[in-house]
């Protein structure tokens, strides 16, 4: 059998002979890693199968976090949904469940995410626009009416107001007669990326971090089936990061959160089994799959070596994966179905635990029932009709993929080390370094799309002039919605016991000044139908509000 040296020599000979005669332009991955024309065993020089890949369900989890992966259970199909008010969204949820969706994923409107009531003057145009409006417990009762919270798990894209939404969800379960220990789901609860990318912060970073840890701490024993944080690379990627930055910022943030939790005297194995990650798989198929495998391996090492975890479940990178919104186009939007299909196949080859892919119209609006169904069908067709789910990590062992996985790991690790040496993620956000790097990268990649260096069909290549004038259709929000929501809010306010609300808020205010876990006190206020705005205003008085410093 040929040795690696011999193969390398042969590869060089082939490159000299064949490529010299048939020259090809150089190529890189989207993140800029150089690519050979072909990969061979000699590109995996120090490859050690048991050390680097091992078996699925075992350290370092490169091939997947569960032993049998999709042969056992498919990923959970969770399309992001929610708009208008609780009644409308409840109908959409029930529809998606009746069509075979296996869990829910709730989108909240911006006022709910940013701690404003629907009648706040700043938000009058935004009620129910990009997600469901929730002002009080009443809205959550309607939102989950007829949905058994012990059977269906729910993922919440909620950050600054995560503790309030958690308290409401648990209270609704209580009213359905379901104890907290039977309630399962995921809270995004990942505030750091809000400052650098997504923008739904309320308080300054440090008190916000406290609330994040309060939620993790509260759920640890009382709501053991709740994933209490979703370390998110998704949003920084959408804001301009490349795949290496996405993974590195995500892991660096994860390190910051874990350190914060450990400071409370909580052991790593007491909470790390309930954390999850949220990353993107975009169109650069192999780089994205390599990125996910590398990140899985890196997290396993960080948990084990840096944080001394003993429980293998603490080392597992459970992954909620999304498709790329940046690569979706407003022109010829039906092409986005094809893009999302490719992303979704990448998500499966990467081994995600749950997925939500972009609907074709989501480059410019929230999806219609029709477009949301196509996304669910895309997932189902890949899951049930293609057969690619039968073998775990089927691309594992590809010379190219393993080489790329190793190189991605090295690059991601180098960036994590750099952030560490600059004082960690929180510090790098405070200094604006991360925001600056993101902006530079976003600007560069936008320019590449505009000058055609990055090809986008229908946009900068083979542009169909007839389609230029095609109208985009925005999902219409009922103009009376805001009035209806405000009316409901006023009704709740008039029926509740104001004295009890004030008492609960006063207690919360006092507790916020100390160090006690705030979730139980938030839940007391929620039970009395205190509004999201009232609870946040109470905390604003103690914590202050974050002022964005703009770096250009």
């Amino acid at each position: 059998m040929a040795s690696l040296d011999e193969i390398q020599k042969e590869k060089e000979r082939w490159e000299k002979m064949v490529l010299a005669k048939n020259p090809v332009p150089p190529a890189t991955t989207t993140s800029g890693l150089d690519l050979d024309v072909i990969y061979t065993p000699s590109d995996l020089e120090d490859f050690d199968y048991l050390r680097d890949l091992g078996f699925p369900g075992e350290f370092p989890f490169t091939r997947g976090v569960y032993p049998t992966m999709y042969r056992g259970n498919l990923w959970s199909m969770r399309q992001y949904a929610g708009f208008a008010d609780a009644e409308e969204s409840n109908k959409r949820f029930k529809y998606l469940l009746s069509q075979g969706q296996t869990g829910l994923s709730v989108a909240f409107d911006l006022p709910t995410q940013m701690g404003f009531d629907s009648d706040h003057p700043m938000v009058k145009n935004e009620v129910g626009r990009v997600g469901v409006a929730v002002d009080t417990l009443k809205d959550m009762e309607i939102l989950f009416e007829g949905i058994p919270l012990d059977k269906i798990t729910t993922s919440f894209t909620i950050n600054a107001t995560a503790a309030i939404i958690l308290a409401m969800y648990l209270t609704v379960a209580e009213k359905q007669g379901i104890p907290a220990e039977k309630v399962g789901g995921t809270l995004q609860n990942e505030i750091l990326k809000e400052y650098i990318a997504r923008g739904t912060y309320i308080f300054p970073p440090r008190p916000s971090l406290r609330l994040v840890v309060d939620v993790i701490d509260f759920c640890k024993d009382r709501v053991p089936r709740m994933n209490t944080i979703n370390f998110s690379g998704y949003h920084v990627r959408e804001a301009g990061a490349d795949a290496i930055q996405e993974a590195a910022y995500c892991l660096s943030s994860a390190i910051t959160y874990v350190e914060e939790v450990l400071k409370r005297g909580i052991g790593i194995d007491d909470f790390a089994p309930r954390i999850a990650f949220h990353l993107i798989v975009g169109l650069d198929f192999f780089e994205e799959i390599a990125k996910i495998r590398a990140t899985r391996r890196l997290w396993a090492k960080i948990a084990k070596e840096r944080f001394k975890a003993k429980n293998p479940r603490s080392m597992m990178l459970r992954l909620f994966c999304g498709s790329s919104a940046r690569e979706a186009t407003l022109r010829e939007p039906l092409n986005n179905i094809i893009r999302a299909t490719i992303d979704m196949m990448g998500i499966v080859f990467a081994g995600a635990q749950s997925a939500s892919i972009l609907s074709y119209d989501e480059a410019y609006t929230i999806p219609t029932e029709e477009s949301a169904l196509i996304s669910l069908r895309t997932q189902q067709i890949i899951g049930y009709e293609t057969g690619i789910t039968k073998v775990v990590d089927p691309l594992g062992g590809s010379y190219y993929l393993e080489n790329l996985t190793n190189r991605m790991e090295k690059e991601i690790k180098a960036l994590i080390d750099e952030i560490d040496s600059e004082g960690g993620m929180l510090r790098c956000i405070e200094t604006g370094r991360i925001q600056n790097d993101l902006l530079k990268k976003a600007y560069k990649s936008d320019k590449k799309k505009q000058n055609g260096e990055v090809v986008v069909f229908g946009v900068n290549k083979f542009v169909d002039e007839k389609k230029r004038d095609e109208e985009i259709i925005l999902t219409q929000i009922d103009p009376d919605l805001s009035k209806r929501q405000i009316h409901r809010l006023q009704q709740v306010r008039s029926k509740r016991n104001d004295r009890k609300v004030r008492e609960a808020l006063n207690v919360l205010k006092e507790k916020a000044k100390g160090t006690e876990n705030l979730v139980p006190f938030i839940q007391e206020a929620v039970r009395e139908y205190a509004t999201v705005g009232e609870i946040c205003n109470t905390l604003r008085e103690v914590f202050g509000e974050h002022q964005e410093s703009v770096v250009l």
Binding site: R129, V130, T200, A239, L330, D446
Partner: protein, 134 residues
């Protein structure tokens, strides 16, 4: 003198990649750019525009509320007597809304898909024409 541009992100929508990359492109084209940051009320935007003495205001709106917000901004500008500062709007804007925005008094609309070059030239043209009027 360099053109002074205010790029403003009104409302709660946090998607500011577009606003910021356009700001970078305008800077590279030699303009002086002031970016308000996210979550600006109409009054804050007007305050900054007056304080900074800008030649033009660019609004970035992706959440579908461009008609409402732009209408309010223009009304408040008239109240404050600064309606001579031209306003352009970028973001997710359906074609049918472009004439409506222009009817309200918006000088130009740059829907998603507009290139940096188109935006730079558009702004130079508007500011050049305005200063020629004086």
């Amino acid at each position: 003198m360099a053109v002074r541009v205010l790029i403003a992100k009104p409302g709660l929508d946090g998607h500011d990649k577009g606003a910021k990359t356009v700001a970078m492109a305008l800077k590279d084209a030699g303009m002086e750019v002031i970016y308000t940051g996210r979550r600006q009320s109409i009054d804050q935007i007007i305050h900054t525009a007056i304080q900074e003495g800008v030649d033009i205001i660019g609004l970035s709106i992706l959440s579908g509320v461009h008609l409402e917000i732009t209408g309010e901004l223009l009304e408040r500008m008239r109240e404050k007597g600064i309606e001579s500062i031209p306003v352009v709007v970028g973001g997710v804007i359906p074609k049918k809304d472009i004439p409506i925005l222009k009817g309200m008094g918006v000088e130009e609309v740059f829907p998603i898909g507009s290139t940096f070059e188109e935006i730079i030239q558009g702004i130079e043209k508007i500011v050049g024409r305005k200063s020629g009027d004086l």
